[in-house]
């Protein structure tokens, strides 16, 4: 984690209200992994006192370019769209823990809902670089909000679902998971909490449905990786990237927590934003 000034190189509105911006930040570009994020300061401290967290969308170590992808939802994101190439912003990052891909996974399933694309986009690049096959399931409200396939690597199989049926599958992206759960070795998702909760429910019954045998030692006989450890996450079928209103983004303010099954709140900025789906209590966390 470090603070760095980054120069805006390019700013594009790729969809109505959705932007991709490229910044020159060599340290971030070479020292980040998919799933991590940056906390970016707006230029107006008196009016906007908080930084804005953005998933790293793509990074290119050769050129030192990192991109972020966001939707204009308020004053902060609107401020970013008015930046011009050459303007500098103050980046804090890389922050959080990345997606953990099992080295043995050949078939990687990515699932994104809407802006969740920003969370998993970089993992597509990493997985292809590592020689894995990637299928990306994407859900949006309508065809007008579907992420352009031209911005994805050619190697990615891109499957779209829209709520109104205007493009691809008519329905939720979660409807598509059963078609791919046997193919996929691991799945990685980012999107609305409701979508992630539905995926977590689906993924929980996967082993039984597929009749996957538990090989090796019986439960309790072998070493159990503690929940939340890198080793445990690497073995998880479904990893999710969570979103929460954020304050400091370094673990100090405890603003951005999600509840774990253990009953201890987990910081999205520090223990996350990526969690194994089984780490989290998806319902009734604080009741």
């Amino acid at each position: 984690m470090r603070l760095a000034a980054a120069e805006l190189v390019e700013s594009r509105e790729i969809l109505p209200g959705q932007w991709i911006q490229a910044y020159h930040a060599p340290d971030l570009a070479s020292g980040s992994r998919a799933g991590q994020f940056v906390h970016v300061r707006t230029g107006d401290l008196s009016g906007m006192v908080l930084r804005r967290p953005f998933s790293l969308n793509t990074t290119d170590a050769a050129t030192g370019i990192v991109t972020i992808h966001f939707r204009v939802v308020g004053r902060g994101t609107d401020w970013f769209t008015r930046l011009r190439p050459g303007d500098e912003v103050d980046l804090l990052g890389p922050l959080g823990r990345p997606f953990e891909v099992d080295p043995r996974s050949q078939h990687v399933l990515l699932i994104a809902g809407g802006l969740g694309m920003a969370g998993v986009r970089m993992l597509a690049d990493e997985a292809i670089r590592d020689g894995r096959q990637v299928t990306l399931l994407f859900g949006a409200a309508s065809s007008r909000e579907v992420y352009p396939s031209s911005l994805l690597p050619d190697e990615v199989e891109y499957v779209v679902a829209t709520d109104d049926g205007s493009l691809g599958h008519h329905g939720y992206v979660t409807d598509l998971l059963p078609d791919y759960e046997a193919w996929a070795d691991q799945a990685f998702a980012c999107g609305p909490t409701g979508m992630l909760a539905a995926l977590a429910r689906l993924a929980a019954g996967r082993r039984q449905r597929l009749g996957v045998a538990t090989l090796g030692r019986k439960r309790g006989g072998g070493k159990q990786d503690p929940p939340g450890s890198t080793a445990a996450r690497r073995k998880a079928f479904l990893q999710v990237s969570m979103e929460q209103n954020m304050g400091c983004a370094v673990g100090a303010c405890l603003g951005c927590v999600v509840m774990a099954t253990s009953g201890t709140p987990q910081r999205v900025c520090r223990e996350g934003p990526v969690f194994a789906a089984e780490e989290l209590a998806w319902e009734g966390a604080w009741s």
């Binding site: 984690m1 470090r2 401290l45 008196s46 902060g76 209103n245 303010c253 603003g255 927590v257 009953g263």
Partner: protein, 375 residues
Amino acid sequence: MKAKRKVVTSGRSVGASRQPTARRSRPAIEPTRPRARVEARTPTAAAAPTVPIPPASVDLSVDLGRGLVLPNPILVASGTFGYGTEYSDVVEVDRLGAICCKGTTLKARIGNPTPRVTETPGGMLNSIGLQNPGVDAVIDKYAATWAGWAVPVIVNVAGESVGDYVEVTRRLDGVPGIAGIELNISCPNVGKGGLQFAIDAAAAAEVTAAVRRATDLPLLVKLSPNVADIRPIARAIADAGADALTAINTLSGIAVGPTRQRPLLGNIYGGLSGPAVKPVALRIVYEAAQTVSIPIVAIGGVTELADVLDFLAVGAVAVQVGTAIFADPTLPVRLVDELAAECAARGLASHRDLVGTALPKKAAAPSAKGVEYRP
């Protein structure tokens, strides 16, 4: 009282407490050290040719009483800096005046439902709900680290009853690495139907006095701005034995959710902080400074040197930086340098000469304990 613990920490003996040590648990640090540090790290001041007094003579130390002498008057506020370790990648924590750690309770608390934070015009609302692992876990996990730091760590203590506060304080008492206690009394008193300690002079005095009896650690008490008149409460807390006051805690507020079907925060109510609350904080420090003779640590919307100078002018001897850290983690350390340069540029030997300049002239000079005022 507490004789058995006095044996453990020699720094608490009467003779040692007279010494202006930077942290109580390590009385070996000589008092001149903070000054030397300022001298070494203020290039802006050193480069200015028209400085009447060289920056080497700018003394930024602050005596908060009971031997708690801070190397400089820029603290980081409770809840915004975790336990001091979270920001250590990007902040030189040893250059801070002090760290006030996250609010600590007797038992672990999971805190409030999310969302817990949201930005508001010129500020933010938070309702973390005092999530913390409990005092014993805090001591286990962090005290050893703190003991190795030059920066004093003040533990912020919260509770739901007088007994809670006293028990947490007892456990902190005598632990190396803990330089003082800041009482967060803006908590509902379960024993009195949920009435906040901070809004009732008698309750505030009761909890202050009880904690005072339980420890010889320097004791700061954090005032709530959500009261009609701060003066009787400040006076009651000072009379009950507090060494210093912190002012202010957050202002109570709410935000409305994007669909306007319910308030935004999971807990409905949140505490407002940031530049938006600065005028309120100035008013409360101004009133408290004319009411009590103990030092006041100001907090509320500090984002630049001018804010520090404003708070000093209304009678604070030190300031805490809070919300601004989220946008600019390096701000507190920079403020230390800027304050030293400002004093040097004005030819002041100490920032204490800036304290209370905006107070009514008839009032007694505000306290800067342990410090001689020049006429």
